[in-house]
């Protein structure tokens, strides 16, 4: 780890501690175990269990930057990154440009696409949607 990254982590860590110990009386004490932490510990593999809070903060900033780079305005990107659970952050930071993104291309385009695919499959003799009687 670079010295600069280490410094960033230290600063973020200290300010987070300052933030979280200010509010609640008993619940925010260092030893308290959160519901999410217990669920993460129970969950089998496949989930980023117990992601470090500092890592989550860095990943959240990364997601925010990625959203902005993809055209989301700054305020919305910040609110959206803040709304994501820790467990989703790393995957989004890594691959928000590759994950499935539902966005109807319009029904006409869709129908055209499906038609072309079927035509191609028929042509390749995989299906017989249009060439039903010509076998």
């Amino acid at each position: 780890m670079s010295i600069r990254l280490a410094a960033v982590r230290a600063v973020v860590g200290v300010s987070l501690t300052a933030l979280t110990t200010a509010g609640f009386p008993v619940s925010a004490h260092a030893g308290m175990i959160s519901t999410q932490a217990v669920i993460d510990a129970q969950a089998a593999a496949g989930r980023t269990a117990n992601i470090e809070r500092i890592e989550a903060t860095l990943a959240r900033a990364e997601v925010r930057a990625r959203l902005q780079a993809l055209g989301v305005n700054a305020d919305d990107a910040a609110a959206r990154a803040a709304a994501l659970p820790d467990a989703d952050l790393e995957r989004l930071a890594r691959s928000v440009d590759k994950l499935p993104a539902g966005g109807d291309a319009g029904l006409l385009e869709l129908a055209g696409f499906v038609f072309l695919v079927l035509l191609l499959l028929d042509y390749l003799d995989v299906t017989h949607v249009f060439t039903h009687h010509h076998r």
């Binding site: 008993v26 959206r80 499935p100 993104a101 539902g102």
Partner: protein, 319 residues
């Protein structure tokens, strides 16, 4: 002769079975009613690439949260992707004070929720596995006789889609589906942990009282599930309702005496009430059992804190 007869019989049976498979998907998946059509569905005409915001608006509106696709565009649409990603669809649902609960990837699970009057948002892939064309839609009913599902259409009308075709597009999208539950509303068939996980995600966003309502419903449905009581206890603690929290931690330990996180949190709570001896007794099994366990650090921190509080020889105050 008899061999030939049995062969043709087997052939018939196979044909029938195949016919059955291709036309009775809903019946095979346990559809209980002849047809289901969910009330209060708002259909929104879609702008280009905006099926995410439109589908989410339909889903949320069906649960009583009236919100427009335009407002949701700012919460889920990614211009550079011309679409919306799944994690943000779930996150935006929580921002509107609804529990985002992913369904088991089975048609049966989807039908069960529809029968309870709940709309379900699904991801579909109209392309090929290698050349995907992702699309969100809301399933708002089914027609068992025609073996078809009703989906919120792109043109502001419900759309009938043959179950066989729907299953093709849904399977290529990993059979992903989720619904939006009002606080305190329970699903038909989710496991306790799955439900609590979804509620905890809502709670993390700061919706503490909504989570409280849901945890109360959870302990009602799953009274023997320690995690439900534990979540309720932590929620009450965060609300400053220490007596309620303490009672709920004790419920955890009643159904599972070796629930170490509950012992840890209860011990801290007791120590802050001045009850040092009991705090030590409650925490002792946790410290003994989990030298290298997942929460060893917290147990050690709690132990130190209890000793520090005990140094002032406080009086154990009644609840």
């Amino acid at each position: 002769m008899s061999g030939r007869a049995s062969r043709s019989l087997a052939c018939c049976a196979l044909l029938l079975a195949q016919a059955g498979c291709s036309t009775q998907l809903l019946r095979d998946a346990g559809a209980m009613q002849p047809d289901v059509a969910i009330a209060h569905i708002a259909y929104f005409p879609q702008r280009e690439h905006q099926c995410g915001p439109a589908a989410l608006a339909t889903l949320l509106t069906a649960t009583g949260e009236a919100v427009s696709p335009d407002a949701l565009t700012r919460e889920v649409y990614i211009p550079g992707r011309s679409g919306s990603v799944q994690a943000e669809m779930l996150a935006a649902t929580r921002r509107h004070a609804r529990i985002a609960l992913e369904l088991e990837p089975e048609l049966r699970a989807l039908l069960q929720e529809l029968e309870q009057g709940r709309a379900v948002l699904v991801l579909q892939n109209f392309g090929l596995p290698s050349l995907p064309l992702w699309h969100y839609a809301v399933v708002v009913g089914y027609d068992r006789g025609r073996d078809a599902l009703l989906l919120s259409g792109a043109n502001g009308r419900p759309q009938r889609l043959a179950a066989r075709r729907f299953m093709g597009t849904w399977r290529r999208a990993g059979k992903w589906a989720f619904m939006a539950l009002r606080p305190g509303e329970l699903p038909v068939a989710a496991s306790a942990v799955h439900y609590l996980d979804a509620v905890a995600a809502l709670e993390t966003l700061g919706q503490r009282e909504d989570a409280f309502t849901s945890y109360q419903a959870a302990v009602g449905r799953w009274p023997a599930e320690p995690l439900a009581w534990f979540a309720l206890a932590n929620n009450r603690l965060a609300a400053g309702r220490n007596a309620e929290a303490e009672a709920a931690y004790r419920e955890v330990l009643r159904v599972q005496p070796n629930h170490l996180p509950a012992r840890n949190n209860l011990a801290l709570l007791l120590a802050h009430r001045g009850c040092i001896a009991e705090a030590n007794a409650v925490l002792a099994p946790a410290r003994a059992a989990a030298e290298n366990g997942p929460f060893a650090t917290q147990f050690a921190d709690s132990w130190r804190e209890i000793q520090a509080l005990g140094a002032a020889s406080p009086v154990c105050r009644p609840l």
